[in-house]
Amino acid sequence: MALTPQDVARLADLARIELSDQELARLAPQMDEILESMTNLAQAIDDDVPPMSHAAPLVNVFRDDQVRPSFSSATVLAGAPAVEDGQFRVPRILDEEA
């Protein structure tokens, strides 16, 4: 099952990454190769190997429900590209529509 440039364009769209046709043509076979390697890996694993989603074999790592000091809003906002009224100022969210 080969990954097409259309598939990659859809993924890029979902991830909000703008890619040129040239880039799509170059990336599709590369991503296809990665997928194929994963398929090979899947074939090499026996049924008795449990699936794993985390490097550490841990469960239930919890903290107590205790309030700890937050950062000051001045510190929090220091790295923001734009600030107004103690808030993060972000560009217009929706493109103008008809």
Partner: protein, 500 residues
């Protein structure tokens, strides 16, 4: 920009005659933990914007979230209360989307491994039981608050937006039903009753304030119609921004009537998200012709949650009495009829307030009367919840104590309620300040009775002749003269003494 609404609506009864309704509800509940889901920032409301934040709830690279144990505990208790299975092992997942209320462009949620699943609850509407199948209860986090600047303050046409992340990372539960069939003509009421049930349950569990007007509890209501006799599900719409129990019912009714009109005219319902407007209608939002693709994947920063069966059973033992059982017990203890109980159930929050008033010493019937008739009407007029009407259960009990002692009549007590609601203090303060106490002082009453006898010689003569029932007219005259503050029983005694 003004909102232009020109939806055709079918008469509700006609829609009910022609279509079957299928409803689905997604309810979000903010938990009342002290700290956030993954960090120690406070969940307290208010505060300067962005003052309850840290690198974790701002999603800065390199920060490491750690699960709040209390949130898991609350989630399991909610799941158990809804009759759910509790997962042996489940993971968190990243739900990817792009909106600045989530700085890291994903929300940590749960995908196909919810913490709780396969529950059901039964709610009663007009004496009929309806089964609500609960598909899942999962954990996620709340987002920041965006304010749109420029244009009309809505996202459309805004010049830019401001973001406050104080709510970002507050633990959130999502409770999702399976499609609810067979509600007949009562679908919107069943939905409302289910939400009221959830709210009562959250408060009884002590896991959330569940105040819809504050956004502690939010509902997305899905609905679709099937022509009578059909078994094929229709296209559904999802209505958001439903912020009160009343709105859930109203929004569903509106959508049912709108969809029915579209289908009857031979059109097709667009699969879309609609926004409920408090003006009483829904407006089209995002089209959902393309199923959303959130590209869920396991959250690598968090390890799985695997609640031991011992822990689950320990938590099960902490569950409060189920709401239906509690109602039945209280009804018996208070000696209320079915009808009286239904009146109470019809007023949101009344049961709790009545219980507290009785606990504060008032007789059950009096507690019911003040809350369900007088104060419920006042709350309704003011457009606030009953528990925010401005009178506490303790004050209602104090008021009733004044009535029981003979110091107030019910009529005067209503004036005392006016004063308490106007912020004039405790019932006794209002009585003193407004001079509302019943006059049972004999000299004052006696003088008033004399005046009434003189003014109504005909009636007085009838009483002298033995027509005791005529005394009512004289009592009325005395009450009127004393602005309703006379002790009516004593007035009657005086009249009969003088004319007997």
């Amino acid at each position: 920009m003004s909102v232009y609404v020109n939806d055709d609506l079918m008469d509700y009864d006609e829609a009910m005659a022609r279509f079957d309704v299928v409803i689905g509800l997604e309810v979000h509940v903010e938990l009342n933990t002290a700290s956030k889901m993954w960090c120690g920032c406070t969940t307290e409301f208010g505060g300067e914007p962005n003052s309850h934040t840290c690198p974790i709830c701002l999603g800065l690279p390199g920060s490491l979230p750690v699960v709040n144990a209390k949130a898991i505990e609350s989630a399991i208790r909610i799941g158990l209360s809804l009759g759910c299975e509790i997962a042996q092992w489940c993971r968190f997942a990243r739900k990817n989307y792009f909106y600045p209320d989530m700085p890291r462009d994903y929300q940590v949620s749960q995908s196909d491994e919810p913490l709780c699943f396969d529950g059901e609850v039964t709610v009663e509407v007009d004496g009929e039981e309806h089964l609500i199948p609960v598909e899942r209860v999962h954990m996620e986090e709340d987002a920041g608050k965006t304010t749109h600047i420029g244009g009309s303050g809505r996202i459309h046409g805004a010049g830019y937006s401001l973001v406050d992340y104080n709510r970002s990372g507050v633990p959130l539960m999502e409770i999702v039903t399976r499609p609810i069939y067979g509600t007949g003509t009562k679908g919107p009421e069943v939905a409302r009753t289910y939400l009221a049930y959830l709210r009562e349950m959250m408060r009884a569990l002590g896991v959330s304030e569940a105040r819809m007007e504050r956004g502690n509890m939010r509902c997305d209501a899905n609905v679709s119609l099937m022509p009578k006799g059909s078994t094929e599900l229709g296209t559904r719409t999802e209505t958001k921004n439903v912020n009160s129990l009343k709105s859930v019912e109203a929004a569903l009714r509106y959508e049912i009537r709108r969809q029915a009109a579209v289908l009857a005219a031979g059109g097709r319902v667009r699969q879309e998200t609609r926004m409920w407007n408090e003006g009483g209608f829904t407006t089209a939002g995002r089209s959902k012709e393309h199923a959303e693709d959130y590209r869920y994947f396991p959250e690598p920063d968090l390890v799985p949650v695997a609640p031991s069966r011992e822990w689950v059973e320990e938590l099960r033992a902490t569950l409060p009495e189920p709401p239906a059982a509690r109602r039945a017990r209280l009804q018996a203890a208070w000696g209320f009829t079915e009808l009286e109980m239904r009146d109470i159930n019809g007023v949101e929050g009344a049961l709790e307030l009545i219980a507290e008033t009785i606990e504060a010493g008032a007789p059950a019937s009096a507690a019911r009367k003040w809350w369900v008739s007088d104060l419920a009407r006042r709350a309704n007029e003011a457009g606030v919840a009953l528990d925010e009407v401005g009178m506490s259960p303790g004050q209602v009990a104090a008021l009733q104590a004044l009535v029981d002692s003979g110091a107030l009549t019910d009529k005067l007590a209503r004036q005392v309620i006016d004063g308490v609601l106007a912020g004039e203090g405790e019932p006794a303060d209002v009585v003193a300040a407004r001079g509302l106490a019943v006059v049972s002082d004999d000299s004052a009453l006696s003088a008033a009775v004399d005046v009434a006898i003189e003014a109504n010689p005909g009636i007085a003569q009838k009483i002298r002749d033995g027509k005791v029932q005529a005394a009512g007219a004289l009592i009325g005259a005395v009450m009127k003269a004393m602005a309703g503050q006379a002790d009516a029983a004593r007035v009657r005694e005086l009249i009969l003494e003088k004319l007997g």
